[in-house]
């Protein structure tokens, strides 16, 4: 009896060993995202997990953060991945400067690093002597698509306001610059530009007050859809249906607003696929493919009612 037990235990142990060995055959990809409290990254993570299951030839370790500015935990995650000896790190940096040094360490440890979603700072890369490609959407170009749609609708002299994302955030900045480029190109009249910190309720209040100060507003460019929803609600309570709104992100909640005309357009940057596509690119390099270079642009698309 005792012998049997020992044999069984040994067999279990062997099976476990075999199990880990098998898992070790597959390349391991560490995915580092920003705040999982953000719908965009939540969808992205779901997309990456589905992708892991579908491909089945790699192992995914995914980490997110508490909030958008918690870049210390991103740095810790990189260090943990180096210790664990992963084959590739795919990262959406929370801070485009702070992440350069830890990622350099990872590259020196022979890990394939792919930077996606937010580009690392060019200056910081130069300083640290890091060559790293960027895989991601053109936030500025995307915002310009939405801004242009608004510009075409209003024509020269159209009076517009911008609702910005978090001050200092790279994508907020890029989207604002994209909107401003549309303002310049279509000779729109930019009356005001304010942050609502990506949030619906704040956008609702801030925009109501902007509308009071400038009752002649004709168009609104919101840096994300959550804020666009707040703007649309403010227009409804003010009884105004003559003001055109564009957003960004194409979250499900704006679908009905676009189809019934309360919003003119939004921009889809296919966040669900973005991490998955970056993982594909990383695995190519792990398998001996050429290094990535420059800016690998991911698709963006203007979403309108038709």
């Amino acid at each position: 009896m005792k012998l049997l037990k020992i044999a069984a235990a040994a067999a279990t142990g062997l099976a476990l060993l075999a199990g880990t060995a098998q898992a070790d055959d597959k390349p391991v990809v560490g995915l580092i995202m920003k705040s999982l409290a953000n719908e965009f990254f939540q969808n992205m993570m779901a997309g990456a997990q589905a992708h892991e299951e579908k491909r089945g030839d790699y192992k995914l370790l995914a980490v997110g953060m508490q909030n958008e500015t918690d870049f210390e935990s991103q740095i810790n995650a990189v260090e943990n991945f180096i210790t664990q000896g992963v084959d590739a790190i795919v990262v959406a940096p929370a801070d485009s400067r702070a992440m350069v040094r830890p990622l350099k360490k990872a590259m020196e440890a022979g890990i394939v690093v792919v930077n996606f979603d937010v580009a690392l700072d060019t200056e910081a890369k130069k300083q640290q002597n890091v060559e790293l490609a960027f895989v991601g959407p053109d936030n500025r170009g995307g915002a310009k698509l939405a801004g242009d749609a608004l510009g075409k609708k209003l024509g020269a002299g159209g009076k517009v306001v911008i609702i910005e994302g978090n001050p200092g955030a790279d994508n907020a900045n890029e989207r604002r610059l994209g909107f401003e480029a549309s303002v310049a190109e279509f000779e729109l009249d930019l009356l005001d530009s304010r942050t609502a910190h990506w949030e619906t309720e704040e956008a609702n209040s801030v925009f109501s007050n902007m509308l009071t100060a400038h009752p002649d507003i004709q168009g609104v460019m919101a840096a994300n859809d959550s804020m666009a929803i707040g703007v649309v609600k403010a227009l409804e309570s003010a009884g105004r249906d003559d003001i055109v709104v564009v957003g960004f992100d194409n979250i499900p909640a704006v679908g009905p607003m676009i189809s019934d005309g309360r919003m003119l357009a939004t921009v889809d940057q296919f966040g669900t696929d973005m991490a998955a596509n970056s993982i594909d690119l990383a695995l190519e390099v792990v398998k001996g493919g050429p290094q990535l270079e420059g800016w690998v642009k991911t698709p963006i698309e203007l979403v309108t009612a038709n």
Partner: protein
């Protein structure tokens, strides 16, 4: 003996006292000065539409601040109200979008769900901090994280939308230009004012804030009164969630970040002492107005976001310093 101690720690109902009149008069004057300033320097401030806007915009903060007043009066603090509001909104959002209910049932279900969620979170805050006599600062900081995590978990971090039309109607309904949601908040203020001034329960909350030991020695169960104060605060967070949903017609799991600080600011600007035992919910009403009028007026004036944030900070500090002198001169 003990009853004597107790009556000493429980101030007379504030409604007739010189101290209270002075307190609220000071805040009222500050509010009037702000209103005057913005009326002179902007052309749209004193228009019916803008006044409606201000009333709508202060509603959520006012609702949260009413509950917060109860907690601060007993010398506590509740940092979790913003997160609890989001959690309640998400639970109610899930309830209201359940298939198979008519609009009326769905709305009723949502209101019950939001209220119960808020009450449950508040009660947990109260039970834990009162039973082990722990600082509510830390317990509610824990709850801030629990409720936010729960909101994200339940909603899968997605915005919940497409509520019944009648709910939206309620959120944007007006009576003579006054938003119905603001009237709900005002009703809460009146109920709170009555409870705090005219019931034994209310007077004992002031007593606990002044001298907890005396209330205990008088034979009252301090524990249950504390739990009740935190539960009321959770309840108002649930009500705030309903207002949020009706006004914006969505439930967002990232709603209400930092709302606790605005609610605390309204209470403190309103003259309620952070160490408890002194203050009034009428002050809180005025405090919420000051914050709302500032946020609105500074945008109308065209001040940048960053300057606006700085000025709001200055006002909070000035209010507390003024309160120091007010307390010094009125207690003589």
């Amino acid at each position: 003996m003990t009853t004597q101690t107790l009556s000493e720690t429980m101030p007379k109902p504030t409604r007739f006292s010189v101290r209270n009149v002075l307190q609220n008069a000071g805040i009222g004057l500050a509010l009037l000065a702000l209103i005057l300033f913005f009326s002179v320097f902007t052309e749209h401030f004193l228009t019916p539409n803008n006044i409606t806007n201000i009333l709508t915009q202060i509603t959520i903060n006012l609702v949260l601040a009413v509950g917060m007043t109860f907690v601060i009066l007993i010398g506590g603090i509740d940092l979790s109200v913003g997160s609890v509001m989001a959690f309640a909104a998400v639970v109610a959002g899930k309830a209201i979008t359940l298939p198979g209910f008519g609009p009326a049932e769905a709305i009723a279900l949502a209101i019950v769900a939001a209220t119960l969620t808020g009450v449950a979170c508040g009660m947990i805050n109260g039970v834990i901090s009162a039973y082990w006599a722990l600082p509510s600062f830390i317990i509610t900081l824990g709850m801030l994280n629990i409720a936010r995590g729960a909101a994200l978990q339940v909603s899968d971090a997605q915005t919940i939308y497409s509520f019944p039309y009648a709910f939206e109607e309620f959120g944007s309904a007006m009576i003579y230009g006054v938003p119905v949601v603001f009237l709900v908040a005002l009703f809460l203020v009146l109920v709170a004012w009555f409870v705090l001034n005219f019931t034994v329960f209310g007077r004992l909350l002031y007593g606990i804030g002044n001298n907890e030991e005396a209330v205990r020695l008088a034979g009252h169960s301090v524990y249950w009164y504390k739990v009740a104060a935190f539960t009321i605060c959770g309840f108002t967070a649930g009500i705030a969630a309903i207002v949020y949903m009706a006004r914006l017609n969505i439930s967002s799991p990232i709603a209400g970040i930092g709302f606790e600080l605005n609610a605390i600011a309204a209470v403190i600007i309103g003259g309620t002492s952070l160490s408890g035992g002194r203050g009034s919910v009428i002050g809180t009403l005025l405090g919420a107005f000051i914050i709302g009028v500032l946020a609105n007026g500074l945008i109308l004036i065209g001040l940048s976001d960053f300057m606006r944030q700085m000025i709001t900070g200055v006002v909070i500090i000035v209010a507390v310093v003024l309160d120091y002198y007010r307390a010094k001169y009125t207690s003589k």
